[in-house]
Every structure is written in C-alpha cells, then in structure tokens.
C-alpha cells in the first residue's frame, strides 16, 4: 500500500462523481423549475409557526411528502396528490421527514382547515382521539380566569377543561396553527413538474 497518489486520485474522483450525480445534476434539474402558480410564500406569522414546528421536532413523527397511489393510499386518506419538487420552493430547510408515526401533513391545511380544531388538538390530542399517541403541548397555552378581548379561547370538552377559567392560546400556538393551515398544496401540479411517479412511468400515472 504505497501507491498513495493513484489511490487519492481515485478516491477524489469517486467523491466528485457522487457530488455531480447527487448534488449538481439534481440542482440543475430542479433549478430550471419555477414555483407553481398556486403556491404562495409563507407570511411572517406562518414563518414563525414554521420555526415552532421545527423546534418542537414535529418532523420526527410527521412526514410532508404524500406518495403516489401505487406506493401508498395517501390520496384516499385525504393527504393530497403526490408531491412535486416545486411544492417545497419556500421550504428551507424542507421538513420532508422519514417517519409516519402520525399522518402526513403537507396538505393538513386543506383537509383540516379549522384553526379551533388545531388548537384543541395541540392542547390535548386525547380530547378528540382517545387513542392518539401524539404528545400534548400544554406549554403553548395558558390558563386564565377570564378571556381578554384579544384572547383566543380553546374549545375543550368538559373533562379536559380546567376546573375554572379558560385555556388561552399563546402566540406560539397561534403561529404554529397558522403554519399548519398554510400547508395546502392541493393546487394542480404544473404539467412539467418533477414528480414521484412511483413504479409507473409518467404515461401510466394519469
């Protein structure tokens, strides 16, 4: 093992090839596509909510990448059409996720457009789904004896409501909910969009 020079050249060549195929070529491929017409950039509040989403580690249990029908029945679950690359134009870094302990959230704003539902669910998921294993996030809320004029009161079934007073959503909870409601990629995918066709070619994927 004394031929260091050719070995180093070979190692660098392999790295360069991998970078070319896995980074540069996809970068060029994606860079040619602009944002889909139906996609809006996040507002400031939604962006703050996105930071809450990242900091709470939602990505560890929730993916943001609906799959094509031949891979998973995501469309039937109401999770939306298969995602295309352009759907993530404003997501830096993206929150694709790998685990589906909970449902996919890329279109949660379309299928669950109720802010009040999300607030109840974030405060105590078991208030709605008795079998839910999602953690509760009571620290995004506070209990008050009476709601002020600007306060958003969380609707709660009586067994989960405090003995007296009301539960108020803190700004973080409102921001996070605004972000969740902005997750709506149900506009039609652009015809030339980069997409995951699963195991079928583009001509079968109609």
């Amino acid at each position: 093992m004394n031929r260091y020079f050719p070995l180093s050249i070979l190692a660098l060549a392999i790295l360069a090839f991998a970078t070319l195929m896995l980074v540069i070529a996809p970068g060029i491929q994606i860079g040619r596509h602009s944002a889909p017409a139906g996609l809006k950039p996040y507002t400031e509040q939604e962006q703050r909510g996105r930071d809450v989403y990242v900091s709470q580690g939602c990505v560890y249990c929730h993916s943001q990448q609906p799959r094509s029908p031949d891979q998973a029945p995501d469309g039937v679950r109401g999770w939306g059409r298969p995602a295309v690359a352009g759907d993530y134009t404003y997501d830096t870094p993206h929150q694709l996720g790998t685990m589906r302990t909970g449902p996919d959230l890329l279109n949660v704003g379309a299928r669950l457009p109720s802010r009040d539902w999300h607030l109840t669910h974030l405060y105590q998921p078991r208030a709605i789904f008795g079998w839910s294993i999602m953690p509760a996030y009571p620290f995004l809320f506070e209990e008050k004896s009476a709601a002020g004029p600007e306060d958003v009161v969380v609707a709660l079934p009586s067994q989960y409501a405090p003995k007296s007073g009301v539960v108020i959503a803190k700004q973080e909870a409102l921001d996070l909910t605004a972000y969740l409601l902005s997750l709506d990629r149900t506009y039609p995918a652009p015809a030339e969009a980069l997409r995951d066709d699963g195991y079928s070619g583009p001509e079968d994927a109609k």
């Binding site: 109401g78 457009p113 109840t120 609707a155 709660l156 149900t186």
Partner: protein, 415 residues
C-alpha cells in the same frame, strides 16, 4: 449423445467405476437451419404483404362496434352518451314522470343556443314539456364541460332531437359563458320563458328560493362555533363545499344529514371529530343545521385527483360490475348520482378523497351504518383502484341541484 465406454475388444473388461457420462454438442444439420430461416422469411414477408388488410379489418371492426352501440365518431354523440343519456335515455325520450324528453321538446326545438344555455345554467324548478310537468333537477355543466364540448353537445342535441341544422360554434359558447356567468340556474320553465322571451305555453311558476333563515344560535354554531364545538364551516367550508376527505354538505338531503349526526352521537358512525361536535347538539339544532346545508346551491369544488381510471369509474357508476356482484351506483343513488332522499345521498360532485375513504371504511368495517349493510357488501367487492376510479368519476360530475356561481363569489361572506 452420451458417450459410453467403447465396446469391441475391451467390452468384457470391468467397466471403469470412476467414469461419468457427459454430453457433447452435435452439429445441427444445415437443412434444418435453412428451413428455419426460410420459415422466418416467409412469416415476415406475409406480415409485410398483409399489413393493409390488418388495418382495414381493424377499421371495419371499429365501425361495426360503433354501429352496434349506437356511437359514431361525432364528438357530440359520444358526449351525449356519457353525459346526458343516464337521465334523458339514449333515445332522448326521458323517463315518464321524472325526466323530461328531449325528442319533441319545444325547448330543444329552439335550436342549439337555448340548449347550450340550459346546459350551462341548469334547471332547478318545475318545467312543462309537452303535456307533462317535471320537477327539474338539471345540473349545470358549466364547470364540467369545456366550450368545445358544450358546442359539440348542443349542436348534436339540437340536430338530433330538435330538427335543427345549425351548428353552434365554440366562439359563441365562450361569449354565452361570459354573458351568463353569474346567473345561477333557471328556476323552472316560466323562468326560461321570461329570460329568453320565447313562448313555451303555460309554464308552471318556479318557487322562489327562500334564503334559509337561521336563528342566531344556529348561525353561531355553523359559523363561529360555541363552547366545546368547532364551527361547522371551519372544516366543511363556508358554503359546505368540503375539501379532500372533509365531505361536501351542500345539497345533501336534510334527513340524511340528521341521520348521520344522530349516528355520530350514538356511536353507530365513528368519527372522533364529529363525535365531539355533535355531543351537545339538540334535535332541533341538528334539524336546523341539516336544513341549512340541504338548501345550499353551491358549484362543485371537487376534482378527480386520486389518479383513478375515469372510464372504469363511469362503468361502475352507470352499469356496475356484475362479475363481482356490484350494482351500478346510479341504480340506488339516482341518475347522475343526484341522490334519492332520504336513504341514498347525492354522490355527484362529492370530494373524491372523501368518497374513496368512505368506501374503504365500509370495506374495512370502520363505517357500518347503512341499512342492510348494503354499502359494506358493495365496498368489499371493490379493490383500491376501483374505489379511486369511481370516486374520481363522481367528483367529475356536476352537482345536483345546480350550484350558483355567485355563491362561490360570496365565500367568506356570512349571512
């Protein structure tokens, strides 16, 4: 060819115990190769020689099958078969007492422009055709068909049933679409007479659509929520239009909605969110909410979006699949899927993801609140591709009764 130990002088010797027989390739005789090549050339030459015969036979078969099924290459004819014949029947004679005939109808005899207008606006009220009064349920096809399709279809209908020789150009359809964009559906035959200024004899008066009056409590329930409940509109949309697997409620029959709310409350139908919502609703509140949604006239926001095979979905909806004991959807849910109150809800314009997820829930036993387990038995016969196909097809249909365009413009404006 197995080579054995050579015979002859040594044949009486003890055979070699370690000898293993083996094979050698023999040379293929050249006449065999020549015959194979000859046959191949002959086959290729025959294919080449008869290529025109094959194309001719193909065309003949297509023409024969079109003649058998009454289809021609006329696009209007195909559209008529797909869109109109489920109600008005393939011969255009309608259904006595339910669906007005097109053949001999004075409305169709007015020519393609009126046909196109009715196609795009729909009819929601009583109409007299010849000597019979029908309760009009004509959907609006404005959202379902393109200008080219409406032009071809109205030309076909007016020529075939109205004796017209006029062709209706696409540009005229575009102008007509712009002119009537916000008008909503005709409120019956008298409304058509008044608006078009044509005389159709003595037409019954349309009943005015009374805007449903809501008590403040029920209005709050629907639009702002109260106490433990989220507002109906916060998930189902301000007009009950639905989205993804949240169902469209607009135009469902009130009895059907009340039954579902009762089933959510007593656990016959399982949905965690709806169970929370209905927990404290009184019977009169359920009835008022149901009446409100039953009276809404909202255009479709559903689109085929599950990648289902629309032709297969159409076949299931119109004819069923008797090889699997699946009856046609429309045999119970009414022509065009407009629903048969109170047991069979409208299916047309329902959100595709909702229809498919409910079919999956019937099949898996998660939903089982239909009488006689009808839907359970049917759904278990459909595979995943069939569920997506039929849900996508139903989502592509126009809603019945027809939606009014101004309603969608009012999204967000609350009564």
């Amino acid at each position: 060819m197995t080579i054995e130990n050579k015979g002859g002088a040594n044949s009486f010797h003890q055979p070699d115990e370690n000898f293993e027989p083996y094979e050698q390739h023999g040379k293929m005789p050249w006449p065999l190769i020549a015959i194979a090549i000859g046959l191949g050339l002959w086959g290729a030459a025959t294919l080449f020689d008869t290529r025109e015969d094959v194309a001719t036979a193909q065309a003949d078969r297509t023409a024969a099958s079109q003649a058998d099924t009454g289809l021609t290459t006329d696009p209007g004819s195909a559209l008529f078969a797909a869109r109109c014949s489920t109600c008005h029947q393939p011969d255009g004679m309608g259904v006595r007492g339910a669906i007005p005939p097109l053949a001999g109808s004075p409305f169709v005899a007015q020519g393609p422009e009126l046909v196109a207008t009715i196609l795009m606006r729909g009819i929601d009220g009583p109409i007299r055709v010849n000597d019979h009064i029908f309760n009009g349920h004509m959907p609006s096809f404005a959202s379902a068909l393109t200008d080219i399709e409406i032009g071809a279809l109205s030309t076909h209908v007016a020529q075939r049933f109205g004796g017209s020789s006029e062709a209706y150009p696409t540009t005229a359809v575009a102008a007509l679409r712009a002119a009537i964009s916000d008008s909503g559906s005709f409120k019956g035959g008298q409304d058509i007479s008044t608006i078009t200024g044509l005389d159709f004899g003595n037409q019954p008066a349309g009943k005015a659509q009374v805007a449903h009056s809501l008590t403040p409590e029920v209005s709050a329930l629907i639009f702002t929520g109260r106490g433990e409940q989220w507002a109906c509109a916060s998930c189902h949309g301000d007009l009950g239009q639905g989205k993804e697997n949240t169902p469209r409620l607009a135009g469902l029959s009130a009895d059907y909605i009340v039954k579902q709310l009762d089933d959510f409350a007593n656990g016959r139908r399982l949905n965690e969110s709806m169970r929370v919502v209905v927990a404290t609703l009184s019977d009169s509140e359920k009835r008022q909410v149901a009446d409100y949604y039953a009276g809404l006239r909202v255009p479709s926001t559903a689109r085929p979006e599950l990648g289902g095979d629309l032709a297969r979905g159409e076949a299931l909806a119109l004819r069923g699949d008797w090889s699997r004991n699946v009856p046609a959807c429309f045999s119970c849910h009414g022509p065009s899927g407009f629903g048969v109150s109170p047991e069979f809800p409208p299916l047309a314009a329902q959100q595709a993801a909702y229809t498919a997820s409910q079919l999956a829930a019937w099949a898996g036993g998660h939903r089982n609140n239909s009488s006689l387990d009808l839907m359970g038995r049917i759904s278990r016969q459909l595979d995943d591709a069939d569920r997506r196909a039929v849900a996508d097809y139903l989502a592509s249909l126009p809603p019945v009764p027809a939606g009014e365009a101004e309603q969608i413009a009012r999204t967000g404006v609350r009564p």
